[in-house]
Structures are given as structure tokens and as C-alpha cells.
């Protein structure tokens, strides 16, 4: 087991940032932590990086306790904090060389590992890190976190504030790094990125709501999810749908409405009501919940 988070509690002043968070990550897994700002993701990462001591519970990184064996932990992890931890007044190559030396290695020694990432920014290696675009900073920070060939890579919101193209490229790089046998734990507020992970933990307000494999449809709790589309736009129908008796909740979802019904048995009835609205372009179909749907369901269910 690469990583064991064992019933961790932590509070700051009066705020409980994490409560009874408990999960494990397999060797070589790409594990995602999904949740909004303030959910406690960064706190959890800092515990994994041996920078915070939990009030209760244990955290083991490859068997090393982050409190007792923090020196060992610091040797085997690569950490990319939420803010880009680069020296803005040093150039790209100087940043990389510095972090290599800090970990007692050289850029050449592990160049194979970072080649794919680094070559995208190598043309700008003389440029100061402060002058790089968000996407390039992110790639440099990843190179720096990888330079000592860590066993576990922990990335705290590496794609926040980065555009969709750079995000996609970043995830492609993570997939390649995973193939090198490095375990990766990564957090993100973007639900669509969950699909790129082997497993994801959904976290909200310091609590772990669920751990799932994004590729496996979720267990049914009896409710059923439907989508509603219309050429005329769906916003106009939002109130109407919410007023239906069978509707548990309904939310905008891209160009559709996602409607949760209490039971699939209500589907036909609802369909007949919708047909009566006189919009021939309305499409009503049953769908498989995405991670985002599940997360929203969990938030509603736990009423948090």
C-alpha cells in the first residue's frame, strides 16, 4: 500500500478542517481528491507532505509515518503545493537545478523522467519563472516536483486557474508519469477531471463523502437520473421541472437539465407531463450519473 490515511482529524482554532478521513491508495495508482475550495484538500496534502501533524489518526507514506519518520517521508515524496512554489526571479533552468540540488541529485540524473514535461518548456529555459504563462508555470512546477524521482507524487490543485487546453495536456502527462510506476495523488475542483483518475475521493467540508471508480456506474439508491434537452434552451423549464411532484432535484448541466426522480417508476408519468408542454424539441432520457452528478447527489443527501 502506497499511502494509508487512517481516520485523520485536524482542527484550526475552532474550525474542524478534516474529520475522520480514512482511505488508502494502491501502488502505482492515480488517485484523485475532488472537492471545492475549503473542503480540506490542501490540509490533507500538507499532512501527507509531513507539514502538518493531525490531531488524531495516522498517515503513512510507503509505510513511513509522517509524524515520526518525517525525514524518510520527505525523501520519497514529490510535492507540488497549491500555489506554484517556484522562484519567480530565477529562470526556468535555475529553478530546476536548485530543486535538483536540494534533493541531492542533478537534472541529468533523472532527465528521462521529466523529459516529456520539461521539453515543452525547454525553449524558454532562460526565461524567469515569473514571466511564464500559467500553463508553463504548472509544467515547470511538475518538473521540479519530479526531479528527484519520488515514489509518491502529491499534487495539490495543479490545474486550478489553468485553461482547458493546458489542463488536458497536464493530465496526459500525469498518465505517462504513472506508467513510470510513480503513485500519484492529485486534487482538483474540476469534476470533469475525475474521469482521468483510477479512483476518486469526493470530499466536502472536511468529510470524505465517497470513494469511487469513475468508470464504474454508481450503485443505485433507487433514484433515477434523467436529462432534459430543448432547442429553445432549458433554463426556461427549470422551475417547471422542479415543481413536478416526482422531482427530487433538478440542476442546469451544460445544455441540459439533470433531473433526479425519486424512483424510476415515475419516469413515464413525468414524460407524459413534459409532452404536454408543447415543445416538440424536448428530449427526455435516462442517463448514467457522472461524477459531478454523484457529488451533487451526495451534497444534497448529506445536506451540507
Amino acid at each position: 500500500m502506497s499511502l494509508i490515511i487512517d481516520h485523520i482529524d485536524i482542527s484550526f482554532d475552532t474550525v474542524q478542517a478534516l474529520r475522520q478521513v480514512d482511505f488508502e491508495v494502491q501502488d502505482g495508482e492515480l488517485f484523485g481528491l475532488i472537492g471545492p475550495d475549503g473542503a480540506g484538500k490542501s490540509t490533507l496534502f500538507r499532512i501527507m507532505a509531513s507539514l502538518l501533524v493531525p490531531d488524531a489518526g495516522r498517515c503513512l507514506m510507503h509505510g513511513h509515518d509522517v509524524v515520526k519518520d518525517y525525514r524518510e517521508v520527505r525523501k520519497i515524496i514529490g510535492y507540488m503545493p497549491g500555489r506554484f512554489s517556484l522562484y519567480m526571479d530565477l529562470s526556468v533552468e535555475e529553478n530546476l537545478a536548485f530543486y535538483a540540488r536540494v534533493f541531492g541529485t542533478t537534472v541529468e540524473e533523472n532527465y528521462d523522467l521529466i523529459r516529456d514535461v520539461y521539453e515543452q518548456i525547454a525553449p524558454f529555459k532562460k526565461r524567469l519563472a515569473g514571466k511564464l504563462s500559467g500553463g508553463m508555470k504548472q509544467k515547470l512546477a511538475l518538473s521540479c516536483a519530479l526531479i528527484h524521482r519520488p515514489e509518491i507524487l502529491i499534487l495539490d490543485e495543479p490545474t486550478t486557474g489553468v485553461d482547458a487546453v493546458s489542463r488536458r495536456e497536464f493530465w496526459d502527462m500525469l498518465k505517462k508519469i504513472q506508467k513510470e510506476g510513480i503513485t500519484i495523488v492529485v486534487s482538483t475542483p474540476y469534476m470533469d477531471e475525475a474521469e482521468m483518475c483510477d479512483r476518486v475521493a469526493l470530499i466536502q467540508k472536511g468529510r470524505l463523502l465517497e470513494i469511487t471508480d469513475p468508470s464504474v456506474p454508481s450503485r443505485s439508491d433507487g433514484t433515477a437520473l434523467f436529462s432534459l434537452r430543448s432547442h429553445k434552451g432549458v433554463y426556461a423549464y427549470l422551475e417547471k421541472v422542479r415543481n413536478l411532484e416526482a422531482c427530487m432535484h433538478a440542476w442546469l448541466f451544460g445544455d441540459q437539465l439533470h433531473v433526479t426522480l425519486q424512483s424510476e417508476r415515475d419516469a413515464d408519468h413525468v414524460k407524459s407531463i413534459i409532452d404536454g408542454w408543447g415543445d416538440s424539441s424536448l428530449e427526455w432520457e435516462k442517463i448514467i450519473p457522472s461524477i459531478e452528478d454523484r457529488f451533487m447527489g451526495l451534497i444534497e443527501q448529506n445536506n451540507i
Binding site: 475550495d37 489553468v162 440542476w251 445544455d255
Partner: protein, 243 residues
Amino acid sequence: MEVREHIIEVKDMVKKYGSFTANDHLSFHVERGEIFGFLGANGAGKTTAMRILCGLSYPTSGEIRVAGHDVYRERERIKRKIGYMSQKFSLYEDLTVSENIHLYAGIYGLGRKQIVVREEQLLERLGLAHVRNRLIREIPLGWKQKLAFSVAIFHQPAIVFLDEPTGGVDPITRRQFWEMIHDATEEGITVFVTTHYMDEAEYCDRVSIMVDGRIDALDTPAALKQQYESVNMNEVFLKLARS
């Protein structure tokens, strides 16, 4: 389709920083009451354009009118007719909810009585009446963002500019936020919004996508998806930015 008034009119807008062209002959318009999505990769020139439209910086050249006013000569009038909210800065963390509302309303010259009445309505609608005397930094991010938006449209501006308003917010709050945006348009407010969440692009009436200082695509989400043979806006965006 009815022809609507152009609340923002941009013709050949150019903004250069030295030899770097941040905005390369942008031409577009925004109709009164629509939700206009302004998308683009980091560094494509969105922020630059938005700053010009808000009257915060001058363009190098071009003809630009916002809410009927010229951006060169009537910046102060423009500022009075617009609202602005960004994820990075919206409310003063060390002031209370109520103090923030009064501060912003005061800046826009609203009368005291008017402020008190509208503050009441606003807090009622948001369900935040019970935290009116709490400091902003003590309330959850989701509430903060909703409040920031309400404050930005408190003086009933013609246009509200939203710069990545939903960054880091949970999926339900994000949707509630967009419902608030829709409600605002029903009151006649035009919404000009940037976002990195591509599903949010679908909530816009029209979407423009900037690549390298130019607008490469501008249409309704449905038309864009058809044109680029994509199932969602994310694909449209990726296809455009990678070409």
C-alpha cells in the same frame, strides 16, 4: 429573432504592449440582456479586453462603446453603469456582510433609505439575513460569491462583468450562481462573463472564444457545437485552441 440594442459595440479594437499585441483587431457586440461568455486560454487576451471595456485601461486603437459611452472620453460614465466581480477580489474580508453592502452602495451614490430597503430584500433573497453582522472571511466561499455577485448588481447596472466568478466553488453552489445570473438578465442586466468551466459556456446565450489575441469563434453554443462537430463546448474549445 428580434433585433436588440447593442449594449457593447467593439470595432477593430487593438491593444499593444510594446511589440506584443494582446488584442488584435477585435470586433464584436453584446446585446442588451444577454449572457455573453468570453472564453479563451490563459494569455489569450481576455483580461486585457475586459479591462478596456470596464474603463480601466485605454485601447491602442479602435472604436468601442459601452452602455452608449465612448471608452476614450466617457470612462467615468461607463464606470457608473457597470458592475464588476472577480474571483480574486470581490468583498472586503475584514468588513461584515452589511458593511460591504453599504460600502459598495455608497460608492455608487445610492441614498441611505434606498440602501436599507434593498439590503433587506437582498439578504432575504439570499437567505443571509442571519449572518449580516458576520465578517466576510467567516462565511463560506459559496455564500461569499453569491453575495459578491448581488453586491456587483446592487446599483442595477446596465452590464455586469464577471471574471471567473465560480472558481473553486462546489457544483451545487456553482449552479445556484448561474441561476442568479439568469435572474439578473430577466431584470434587464447584461452579463459579460469569463470562465474555465466549459459546461458553464453552455449557459451563455452567445460565446466568443479568443485565441492569441483574436476572436476565433463567436456564436450560440448550439451553433458552435454544430460548426465544430462537437458534443460539448469543451471539445469546441480544445479544437479551436489546438488548431
